[in-house]
């Protein structure tokens, strides 16, 4: 226990001090804590820590194994990068929220029981919602409330599932749910799928992330969906349903990305698409597949963070977010372009970039498991990934029509953070060894075979050919896309209408009825009650009071006011008590 420092504690307790620090000291502190956390994770030994009991249930604050270590490693690295990206912010609010958010994500990753998991799960929802609220605009506030509403609902469902499952199995320890898929387990699965943004439960992500602050979205892109992938990999590996949900998800995100005009919403749809690979990998459930899902989550956090940082830099500098309003920035922001493109190559799985060595594992696992359709669908989705993140977005954001925008490179700390992420994207692609060594199962997979390299390049570069030929068809349009948030955005309006029109009319009818019929009756009965009260009840009460008064008068005559009399009486009482005691107990 002594040699175990819970990394979540570093962040959550560390957040308390942030508002009290100023200037350079705060900046150093903001970088120092994630660095310490990285070392804490590197030094961590597999095992169980912090076992205790709460309301008669076993609690295991931290259960450390290879799977949790992979996620904790990349979470702490991303926390460092995200903090560097956010260093220029002067107000402490977002830093505090980000710390609590990262800490909660780490808490989930190490949680050994469902109650601990649930506690940190909710912490993540609230801390991340702040990063949307902090944007400040009315649009963002509305999106943040929707985000909270969805996550609180999901959280309640999760808690319900946990309780039902716990009652059925008699244990709240968090682990693989294999044989006994009761109703509780399905509700837990639904709660996890919500956070993984699996359609139709995906709209909270694409609704809220693009509304978050520039720096907040970088954190959000990394943690919520990937903790969901972690808990799915922990509890539901090999669940057939996940294979199909993941495959559909990979294509779903890509289709919506074609339609999208908001640069960060386009990237958000690609989170949905990329998490689809991971969910499918967890669903396939073989060692290669789980390794693939885990390593893809690792790589994804870094390149997606990088892409959000690139798009964020453009928003930070120009104040614009729509592709129809951007263009021609490559002259003024060449470094941002180059760093963004590293992320784009990584997500598209170009050889020597991180996606290549991780995504191919999932696809290969699908192939090994004789799932030709899944394999083809996932390959098609990677074509779409390059089409949007690698071609459409950079073309319309950085190249394309020159809108003569006033722009410059973003602040230095932003560029440094992007550089860190880009370096890791390339390092993992070129030297996949260290990442493979970290994975939960031994890796027997060689990404760099001739056939695999030419196949990937063929898919990608001929996608580029399609892009060049049909460029006009891809021109962004000034629209928004309907997703499943329609149901609660329009549904809420329906509810408000219901509250305003029929319910209001019903209420009026009820109050009318009460005024004409119920009120006279009430008045009448009140009068009758008064009469009863005056004659009947008061009579009794007065009688009792009078007799007490008389009794009091008699008692008063006994009072002499002399202390010795009272003392005598007390002594007499004590003696009497002793006598009674002696007689009765002899």
């Amino acid at each position: 226990m002594t040699d175990f420092v819970h990394p979540a504690l570093l962040f959550i307790l560390g957040a308390v001090a942030i508002p009290f620090l100023e200037g350079v000291v705060r900046k150093v502190y903001l970088v120092l804590i994630p660095l310490l956390a990285i070392f804490a994770v590197l030094a961590i030994e597999p095992g169980s820590y912090g076992a205790t009991a709460f309301i008669g249930q076993e609690i295991l604050i931290a259960k450390v194994d290879r799977l949790s270590i992979v996620f904790a490693t990349v979470f702490t690295i991303m926390a460092l990068i995200g903090m560097v990206y956010a260093l220029h912010l002067t107000r402490a609010g977002q830093h505090v929220a980000a710390f609590v958010y990262v800490g909660s994500a780490l808490g989930v990753v190490f949680a050994g029981d469902y109650l601990t998991l649930y506690f940190f799960w909710e912490g993540m929802a609230f801390a991340s919602a702040y990063l949307v609220f902090a944007q400040g605009s009315e649009k963002a506030t509305r999106a943040a409330f929707r985000y909270l509403m969805v996550h609180v609902t999901g959280g309640v469902a999760l808690l319900g599932g946990i309780l039902v499952h716990g009652a059925a199995t008699g244990s709240l320890l968090f682990g693989p749910i294999e044989s006994n898929m009761g109703p509780g387990a399905y509700v837990i699965l639904a709660g996890f799928l919500l956070n993984a943004a699996v359609p139709p439960l995906n709209a909270w992500l694409t609704d809220a992330y693009p509304e978050a602050t520039v720096t907040g979205a970088v954190f959000m892109s990394a943690f919520t969906t990937k903790t969901a992938v972690y808990v799915l990999a922990r509890a539901f590996p090999g669940t057939e349903l996940l294979v199909w949900l993941g495959t559909v998800m990979a294509l779903y995100g890509v289709v919506y990305a074609v339609l999208e005009n908001d640069c960060r919403r386009l990237l958000a749809y690609h989170i949905v698409s990329q998490v689809g690979y991971m969910v499918a990998g967890v669903g396939i459930g073989t060692e290669l597949a789980v390794n693939g899902a885990t390593s893809h989550a690792f790589a994804h956090i870094l390149y997606k963070g990088l892409l959000f940082m690139g798009a964020g830099a453009v928003i930070h500098v120009t104040g614009r977010r729509k592709l129809t309003e951007l263009g021609g920035l490559y002259k003024t922001m060449p470094l941002t372009v180059a760093l963004y493109m590293v992320g784009a190559f990584a997500i598209s799985a170009f050889p020597f970039f991180s996606g290549f060595v991780t995504k191919s594992m999932v696809v290969a696992a699908a192939g090994q498991d004789h799932r030709a359709l899944v394999m083809l669908a996932l390959t098609m989705a990677s074509s779409g990934t390059f089409l949007h993140t690698g071609l459409k977005l950079p073309y319309y954001m950085f190249f394309g029509t020159d809108r003569k925008l006033e722009a410059r490179e973003p602040p230095r700390n932003m560029l440094v953070a992007m550089g860190m992420a880009a370096a890791l994207c390339i390092a993992i692609g070129v030297f996949p060894g260290p990442l493979y060594a970290l994975l939960p199962y031994p890796v027997d997979f060689e990404p760099y075979t001739g056939a695999h390299v030419t196949e990937s390049l063929g898919i990608l570069m001929f996608t580029a050919l399609g892009f060049v030929i049909f460029l006009k068809a891809l021109d962004p349009e000034n629209t928004i896309s309907l997703d499943t948030d329609w149901f609660y955005r329009k549904g809420a309006r329906g509810f408000m209408w219901l509250a305003e029109k029929p319910l209001a009319r019903y209420e009026k009818a009820v109050s009318d009825a009460s005024e004409t019929a119920v009120l006279p009756f009430l008045h009448g009965s009140a009068r009758a009650g008064l009469r009863l009260d005056l004659n009947g009840v008061d009579g009794v009460v007065n009688g009792v009071a009078r007799s007490i008064l008389n009794g009091g008068g008699k008692l008063r005559r006994l009072q002499t006011g002399v202390v010795t009399h009272y003392a005598l009486a007390m002594i007499a009482g004590v003696i009497a008590a002793i006598v009674v005691f002696a007689v009765v107990w002899r």
Binding site: Y330, G450, F462, T479, L482
Partner: protein, 84 residues
Amino acid sequence: MIERIVDFFGDERHATRRRRLFYLVLVLIVAADFLVSREHAEYLWEGLPGWSAVYGFGSCVILIFVSKFLGHQGGLMRREDYYD
């Protein structure tokens, strides 16, 4: 260095050279696909040289047009003030 590379991909002056380079890369990739060894081709298409080029191009076209069809004809794309 980075500025020059980015400039090469952006500036209109390099358009012809860019296009030539692009086509050269495409040809080289297909040529290489014919040369690499395919020992463990489990699925039919894995044994076909140039398959990935066709599939990549096809996927791209399908994704563009199916999505745009869903967006325009399927009613997914709406005016920006749709929710206001």
